[in-house]
Symmetry: C2
DNA sequence: CATAGGGATTCCAGTGACTGGAAGGTCAAG
DNA sequence: CTTGACCTTCCAGTCACTGGAATCCCTATG
């Protein structure tokens, strides 16, 4: 199975599959013409990574999860540990974004949004206005 | 005022301030020795950008907002438009993350997390298990 | 006056996870 | 034999910085 078919089978792009190989995540065999060759085991690994990425795991998490996936003697505790950490990061980010949402939606709600220059959003950004007791939020 | 003091006054790093200048966002004057020189107007702009970034606006949004900030004849509608779009992106991302959180927290909750290899998280990632009717989520 | 330090300057490279595009090799069909 | 669809590699760009190297400038002290 060549890379195009592997792409269809995994819902990844050929580019992404080549990228995964370049970082030694999933390495295909090669045919005599230099083309990559994908067997079922490769497809399973790629689909595994595709799902893990879809759940927001980083590539390094995927690498760790993949090696646990291949390990018949793994402890589920190791898997759970990775997933738990990731879940906490997601929850932290949700909280961050909800804070931003709250601040922004208030500003937006109070802006007339007409031809006049007066604008509570601008006032908020320029510090004209008393800040809410949040501390400056940082994304990422 | 040189860049170190400007950094303290704006809660940005000198690196970041130089970066902002390199992308023509906030351009300082120069002293005869080549040092950047920051006047009050520069500091106000930098603080404005710092707050906007803190609310998650992209640099390009900041650029647009800054030019509206400087425009005495702006229409608040333009500001609101930018903020509204950004707010919608934030809300979309919150929804995405909440979907992930739900899926992940279920998987994590059902994993024993002990020395045994059996693991519902792994089952979920390997596609062993029936998927919930969500469609594959994509992060960005 | 030499020197030591703490600034400042520029430029290059790296981050994460791809994606786009160029230049070229391979294969099956007509 | 040509066409077109595929494959290969490599380089560059994304976003918003951040780290680090090499060099320069300013002030204070011995």
């Amino acid at each position: 199975m060549n890379i195009g078919d592997a792409a269809k089978a995994t819902n990844l792009s050929p580019k992404t599959i080549r990228y995964y190989e370049s970082i030694n995540l999933v390495i295909a065999d090669r045919l005599s013409n230099g083309y990559r060759d994908y067997a079922d085991a490769h497809i399973h690994k790629l689909r595994f990574v595709q799902r893990a990425r879809g759940l927001g795991f980083s590539i390094e998490d995927c690498r760790a999860l993949l090696s646990l996936y291949e390990d018949r003697n793994r402890a589920s505790a190791e898997v759970k540990n990775i997933a738990q950490k990731h879940l906490e990061e997601i929850e932290a980010k949700i909280n961050e974004l909800q804070d931003l949402q709250e601040t922004l939606s208030h500003l937006v709600a109070h802006c007339a949004g007409d031809h006049r220059p007066d604008c509570p959003i601008m006032d908020g950004l320029s510090g004209t206005v008393h800040e809410t007791a949040k501390g400056t939020s940082k994304l990422h």
